[in-house]
């Protein structure tokens, strides 16, 4: 079992190394960054069960901070990204604290409200954000002989993934899932939901910020899209397409959505019709997402092998909370 996991992980790593040769490098970087963003989002959505509509505020704030630092100071790229991440973390403290007080759809709406406020500030602070024109031509100052090309993205993104993975597989991650599945019972065994969710929210915000900074550097341009509410929407779709509650799902979902967007750009077909149809079809028929479905099939296959006469009451997806894989496993 553990061996399998490692095989899969190394396989993914190899794929990521080869990816820039298969598709255009900037797109590969994009997939990495959005994948990390989606995973960060899923930390709160899939594991803590909270749908945030405002994650763009962390991604975007970090992107703008990183870009500004690179423009205005001579700081090396990793430092700028780090500071951008810290900015996102700082933002997450008050917003997280105030949002966590609400639950369900109210949580979503409060996060949306905060994100809209950040959007407004970004629009107004034109000296720092370029307003509607954005900030093109972000420089990548090298540190002596070290040039920051795309390799930096792989390194930093991998760091982010490791952090996320550790968080998910740790006792903390287990506690999160316990709270998600049955809040009252979790409380009765001594977990404080507010604290756990806050921690999850902050980690999620930080990783979103890391991803946002990486993306700003990768593209060389930041525009108001990074704080627009549709960005928060896209990341939800990535997670759903890829498979919520899985480690690789968000990355796969990001790849699918970005490849779709890229192929639509190269053609001239009706973007909205295709994208909308894909979204709707995914939600209706393919809810577990790619990775979730693969895991489900794998689970069924293994169960069929182990118990030749499987009982008819095979685990249907738990309807109450997430439609993701019925077991808590990570590939």
């Amino acid at each position: 079992m553990t061996a399998r996991r490692w095989v899969v992980r190394i396989g993914v790593l190899l794929l990521l190394l080869v990816l820039p040769r298969l598709i255009y490098p900037i797109l590969a970087v994009d997939i990495l960054c959005w994948g990390l963003f989606a995973l960060a989002f899923d930390l709160v959505f899939g594991y803590a069960g909270l749908l945030s509509f405002g994650h763009a505020m962390f991604w975007g704030t970090s992107a703008y901070v990183t870009a500004n630092l690179l423009f205005r100071t001579g700081l090396p790229v990793p430092v700028a990204i780090l500071l951008g991440t810290i900015a996102a973390l700082v933002l997450s403290l008050p917003t997280g604290y105030l949002s966590i007080r609400s639950a369900g759809i109210y949580f979503s709406m409060v996060t949306l409200a905060f994100a809209q406020m950040i959007d407004f500030i970004a629009r107004q602070a034109e000296d720092y954000t370029g307003g509607d024109n954005g900030l093109p031509g972000i420089p990548r100052p090298s540190l002596g002989p070290i040039h920051f090309d795309n390799a930096i993205h792989l390194v930093l993104a991998a760091l982010g993934y490791v952090v996320a993975a550790r968080a998910i597989e740790s006792p903390f991650g287990q506690a999160l899932r316990a709270i998600r599945d049955n809040r009252t019972r979790a409380q009765s065994v001594g977990y404080n939901p507010r604290v756990q969710m806050m921690v999850a929210f902050v980690i999620s915000a930080g990783l979103s910020g890391l991803a946002g900074g990486l993306q700003a550097v990768g593209h060389g341009v930041v525009s108001l899209d990074v704080v627009h509410w549709t960005t928060s929407g896209i990341v939800v779709m990535m997670v759903l397409l890829g498979g919520t509650g899985t480690l690789l799902g968000p990355l796969v979902g990001a790849a699918l959505v970005l490849l779709l967007r890229d192929s639509l750009a190269s053609s001239t077909t009706a973007t909205g019709v295709v994208t909308g149809a894909v979204f709707a079809a995914t939600v209706l028929f393919f809810r577990r997402g790619v990775v979730g479905t693969l895991l489900m099939l794998d689970f069924r296959r293994r169960k069929a092998v182990e118990a030749p006469a499987p009982p008819a009451a095979e685990a249907a997806p738990p309807k109450q909370v997430t439609a993701a894989n019925p077991q808590v496993r990570t590939p």
């Binding site: 959505f45 069960g49 749908l51 105030l98 007080r101 609400s102 639950a103 369900g104 759809i105 109210y106 709406m109 409060v110 949306l112 409200a113 905060f114 809209q116 406020m117 959007d119 407004f120 629009r123 107004q124 509410w229 929407g233 939800v236 779709m237 759903l240 009706a270 973007t271 909205g272 019709v273 994208t275 909308g276 149809a277 894909v278 979204f279 709707a280 079809a281 995914t282 939600v283 209706l284 809810r287 309807k319 909370v321 997430t322 439609a323």
Partner: protein, 289 residues
């Protein structure tokens, strides 16, 4: 000072639109808990239906006021029966995503047929021009719109809160299991309520057509504002959404008069404040789930 009063009056008129649009969403989202992101697209369809039947069949504004909402309502019923009801057992986020996808589909579909720029639509002759109200010379059509909005809002509130039909609807949404035990076909009622909410969106669209540009994206930025209004008013409360709609209209008008750039963001600031102080909204009836 007079200018401020004029702006407040104008704000009430805009509030009428917010209220009508929020009414439909309050019914669908507030009561049925279906996060109907397509509400803005339904509004747009109402406007386009009025335009299309006028263009194709020469049907004027007055009949459109009845036909378009019914058409959009039927479309809503079809959506609900075919697609949306499959996701009831799942968390609200799935409905959100489905309806978000449907919105993109519908908007782009309309764009493919009619193009991205607007289509012309004029108010009916009887309502064209302006009326002198003493302190202000105001477009007659907008006065008509506010009257329609008030009437429809009051009627809807009355039906839902004070009649037996409304009681059944409220029972279906608050406790479907027990209601079913009484022999009431809950799923049929839910479909009907959804259709009614959609029809309200369509009605708002027809009323908007003579005033605002009739283009495929006319509902796209409105939708999050409408959600905000419903949430501020409190999920489950019709009165809450209506009152908040008018209040928001006035608030945005004052904002536009004092510091225009913030006008669109004021709603979200208000929403954050309300939710922090009263987590279930101003008139919210139910526990924050």
């Amino acid at each position: 000072m007079t200018l401020l009063l004029i702006q407040i009056f104008n704000g009430l008129v805009n509030g009428a639109f917010y209220a009508l649009l929020s009414l439909g969403l309050a019914v669908i989202f507030g009561m049925l808990r279906i996060v109907n992101f397509a509400h803005g697209a339904l509004y747009m369809l109402g406007a386009f239906t009025a335009y299309a039947i006028g263009e194709r069949f020469g049907i004027g504004f007055w009949p459109s006021l009845l036909i378009a909402p019914i058409a959009v309502g039927i479309f809503g019923v079809i959506l609900e029966r075919l697609l949306i009801r499959r996701l009831y057992d799942l968390p609200a986020s799935y409905n959100l995503l489905l309806t978000f996808g449907l919105t993109l589909l519908i908007q782009d579909g309309v764009r493919l047929i009619y193009g991205i720029s607007g289509q012309p639509y004029a108010p009916p002759a009887q309502l064209a021009g302006a009326t002198n109200l003493g302190f202000i010379v105001f477009p007659t059509f907008r006065l008509f719109a506010i009257i329609v909005s008030v009437v429809v809002c009051v009627l809807t509130w009355f039906v839902i809160e004070r009649t037996r039909v409304g009681a059944v609807v409220r029972a279906c949404t608050e406790n479907p299991t027990i209601t079913r035990a009484f022999g009431i076909d809950v799923s049929l009622w839910i479909t009907a309520v959804f259709g009614f909410g959609a029809a309200l969106a369509g009605l708002a669209g027809v009323l908007a057509a003579p005033i605002y540009s009739v283009d495929p994206l006319m509902g796209s930025e409105l939708i999050i504002t409408t959600f905000a209004v419903v949430v501020i008013g409190g999920l489950g409360s019709i009165l809450g959404s209506v009152v908040t709609g008018y209040a928001v209209g006035v608030l945005v008008a004052i904002g536009s008069a004092l510091y225009p750039p913030i006008a669109n963001t004021l709603i979200f600031i208000l929403m954050a404040l309300v939710l922090l102080l009263r987590p279930t909204g101003l008139f919210g009836l139910q526990e924050a789930r």
